[in-house]
């Protein structure tokens, strides 16, 4: 599971913004929202006749596989970096 998400934004004529987001504390704070999202996903699976367990398992695999992903985009003096650890 991801532990830390780093976001860095460089814009011309502005100070660079660098944000470190610790995933676990954020998930704990947003736990009620996470529960609602999971419930909505379960309802969607039932409506579209998708195996709930398979869908939740596949989603968990995607989330677990996120660490190591890195997206670095630069255009001129503007740059955005998202790194998941």
């Amino acid at each position: 599971m991801p532990r830390l998400v780093t976001v860095r934004v460089n814009r011309p004529d502005r100070r660079p913004v660098r944000v470190w987001v610790p995933v676990l504390p954020v998930v704990l704070v947003l736990f009620p929202v996470v529960v609602l999202v999971v419930l909505a996903a379960i309802v969607a699976c039932v409506v579209f006749r998708i195996g709930v367990v398979r869908a939740l398992g596949a989603s968990w695999r995607v989330i677990s596989a996120l660490p190591g992903a890195r997206f670095d985009i630069e255009q001129g003096r503007t740059a955005v970096l998202v790194a998941i650890r």
């Binding site: 998708i50 995607v62 890195r70």
Partner: protein
């Protein structure tokens, strides 16, 4: 059986060399072949972990750069998730793709095929060079 090993055994059968000489020759042959085989597939399979996409381009005179690193495990997980997409959604996606001039039938794309594709990505390197852009896709 390799051609050289067969030649040695033929010489032994013809009595040109003794059994000891044949053994020494085969041992020497095996010593020579081991490094050659290791060099043939120098990149160990299963070691690659990431798919990298690197784009260097010039857009309206400004340099732009894209550097994406995606874990292969994420691609595999994505394939499993994509296998859950209901058929009616695939039909709608097919219609939209067809309207956009991309006549691809997604219902014919099986998860096993996609998984096989991901499994063999480590052997793939794509390099595109044009005057104002360079694209590299590879695994590391």
């Amino acid at each position: 059986m390799t051609e050289q090993r067969k030649d040695i055994l033929d010489m032994l059968a013809a009595g040109t060399i003794s059994a000891e000489e044949a053994e020494q020759l085969i041992a020497a042959l095996e010593r020579d072949q081991a490094p050659a085989l290791a060099g043939h597939d120098a990149r160990p399979k299963g070691k690659v972990k990431y798919l990298r996409v690197m784009v260097d381009a010039t857009d309206n005179g400004e340099p732009s750069r894209v550097n994406v690193r995606v874990p292969l495990q994420l691609l595999r997980a994505g394939v499993r998730l994509a296998a859950l997409v209901p058929p009616q959604a695939l039909v709608k996606a097919n219609a939209s793709l067809s309207d956009s001039g991309v006549p691809i039938d997604l219902t014919q794309l099986k998860p096993e095929q996609l998984e096989a594709l991901v499994e063999h990505l480590d052997e793939m390197t794509v390099e595109v060079d044009s005057p104002d852009a360079t694209v590299r896709v590879f695994c590391e």
